[in-house]
Symmetry: C2
Subunit: 394 residues, 2 copies
């Protein structure tokens, strides 16, 4: 691989010989590394084939994909082996978490497209929307008999709703309650009525009023671009007759979703902050950058990885659907009140800066840090881990 060097480089013969000798030894070592790396990929491929066999057995015997204890045992064994071999156990754990995640997602994609109630009839109201389409696909691939009712299909509502086992509302927040009242009278009495609105109190009230059978409110905390349901959270607000709604929740679990049960009022309050306030604040920051014409590429060059990450969180908002964000921010009078409180909080803290009151800033800082408690250390660890990933990836 080492080419003879042209004389023009004006090295002494000795230096040249030395350079040649260390290049030869580097080339030789690099060949060894390449050979090891090839073997690593071969082993990964071999592992993949064995995992496929595991998946086949699990599928045949209807066994669950996850085996958390097995995963943790596996990690512990590899960490111990790493330590003995003089490797950093965190490094080895990091690699194996990636390997296992990949294997789990692969298994899930094969195993989870099953139905807990094969052939059950499902009507998706708003099935032409992005989230509606998403659930239509997943249900169809899992052997459900799925029909879609969108805006223009109301004349056919009676035939579409005939004999259905589940009616899933996938419509915008602001029309969700009225759509519930419209569809209610057409549902068979044993049919489950559920929605996936990102607000829960009003839609659930409307569903309970419109339908006397089983009712459950859902809020999937992911968007339609999600390719795997693995560990994605779905908030569940029970409405009526949970036993008869259970199969729907079992289906979500089978897909890999993690279900978190929450009363509708608590859900709406927390989402006010998690969604409405965060999205609003992110929107304002994006607009501020645009108004001032801040040079993004130059800013990124002059940014620590943490700021790159913050800016990525802002940028990603604007790669998404504005009407969804508008719906969330404009949803309720409570949300407007929350945003007003936030504005006052900005004002109060700004007047601190205006007065040059560093001491009070520091006192407040300590108070907040105490209040966050162990979370801030955890946050530091998590974000530092991610920043590491960001630095070596991009």
């Amino acid at each position: 691989m080492t080419k003879p060097r042209p004389k023009a480089r004006s090295r002494s013969a000795a230096a040249s010989a030395q350079a040649f000798s260390h290049e030869v030894s580097l080339d030789h070592l690099r060949e060894q590394i390449d050979c090891i790396d090839q073997q690593l990929v071969n082993l990964l491929a071999q592992r993949r084939r064995v995992v496929e066999q595991v998946t086949a057995v699990k599928k045949q015997h209807d066994l669950p994909t996850f085996h958390p204890a097995r995963e943790e045992n596996l990690i512990s064994a590899r960490r111990a082996q790493a330590s003995q071999a003089g490797l950093d156990p965190d490094y080895v754990e990091d690699l194996f978490r990636t390997v296992m995640r990949h294997s789990r997602v692969g298994q899930l994609n094969t195993l989870s497209r099953r139905s807990v109630r094969p052939g059950a009839k499902v009507l998706i109201v708003g099935g032409l929307g992005r989230m509606g389409g998403f659930f239509t696909d997943w249900l169809r691939q899992s052997d459900y008999d799925v029909r879609v009712l969108d805006r223009d299909d109301w004349p056919q509502v009676r035939s579409l709703a005939a004999g259905i086992d589940l009616c899933l509302l996938a419509v915008p927040i602001d029309v969700s309650p009225s759509v519930a009242s419209q569809i209610g009278p057409h549902l068979p009495s044993a049919c489950v009525l559920a929605d996936i609105t990102s607000l829960k109190r009003k839609p659930l009230e409307a569903m309970l009023k419109a339908h006397a059978g089983p009712v459950v409110g859902l809020h999937p905390l992911f968007g339609p671009a999600t390719v795997t349901m693995d560990k994605q959270i779905v908030v569940v607000s029970p409405g009526r007759d949970p036993d008869r709604c259970q199969w729907l929740l079992d289906q979500l679990s089978l897909w890999g979703n993690v279900l978190v049960e929450t009363p509708p009022a608590e859900h709406d309050e927390i989402m006010g902050i998690v969604q409405a306030l965060r999205h609003f604040a992110t929107f304002v920051f994006g607009q501020f950058l645009q108004e001032r014409g801040v040079p993004i590429p130059r800013t990124l060059e002059l940014s620590s990885p943490i700021y790159r990450l913050e800016l990525a969180m802002v940028g990603r908002l604007f790669a998404q659907d504005p009407s969804l964000y508008a719906e969330i921010v404009f949803a309720t009078p409570e949300r407007l009140a929350l945003l007003k409180d936030y504005l006052q909080s900005v004002q109060r803290n700004l007047s601190l800066v205006e007065r040059g009151d560093k001491a009070e800033f520091i006192a407040r800082f300590h108070k907040i840090a105490d209040w966050f408690g162990p979370f801030s250390e955890q946050a530091m660890r998590e974000s530092t881990f991610l920043v590491e990933k960001l630095v070596h990836r991009f």
Copy 2:
């Protein structure tokens, strides 16, 4: 491994036999996986030993740690092999990026603690502070002769400054200019005067005024908790006589830092947004959560990974030194003006929500998205990649 099952479980003999048979086959497959995983760790340890030999050769012949082209070739080769073996090339690339990063950091830790000017005398002003201590350690480990001047050492300033090649100011933003004027008269004329203040215009002016020799302003975009300098950014604002400052920049590069040259005014303007405004906004959000007593653990249970990440960015601020953040936020009148503009921006956007003007919100959204251009798609990709990491790690 499979134990005989007690009769009490009341399975039929046939079902029990079937269960037994698939457990045997699963156990067998899992043993195969464990065996493959053991071989993977063995190969990683083997790889590590070869990399150590590479490092030794590089050290002996003063060769650079990085070889970006080699890294990219290696990735391409593994991706190609992965595709042929039916593996997802992104998955394999992800693993090898982690492997290479680990190998690079290991090499850097061995190779980078060298001096480009062994034995040169360095005075760290503010060497007892956290960043001062950080640079003291790195310089000492790289064979520099380091002295420290902190608040109580001014009576010894003449002897401490005698014959030094570099004077590095590592003091708080607000005293940086006055410390520069104090130390200036004591410096040998050929000594490089540099600072690591996170503001550049005023400290650089003060250094140029206080010292007639070589001057350079630095802003390392990382904190004292950093364990590796690998790819960490240092902003460089040249002052005077860059040729004679070059060895200091070469030292930073040898440690693994990436240097970005920036005029002081541009630096300060961008940092107003990247640091002052972001830190202020994050502080306000943290305080808002504390004032309202938002239940953090419950909120995390009800959060998508993206919000978890956002909350981690807030939490991490409060795990850090408040006085550093106070300094940054309160640094200049320009920063106060910036924060006031920001407040107005929050107000204007809030009045939009108050009027219920969704259409205007969406119009602004589109305008901002256009302005961000390709960055928002990139941000989506980067943050989605990180969210994946977050989901499978925590």
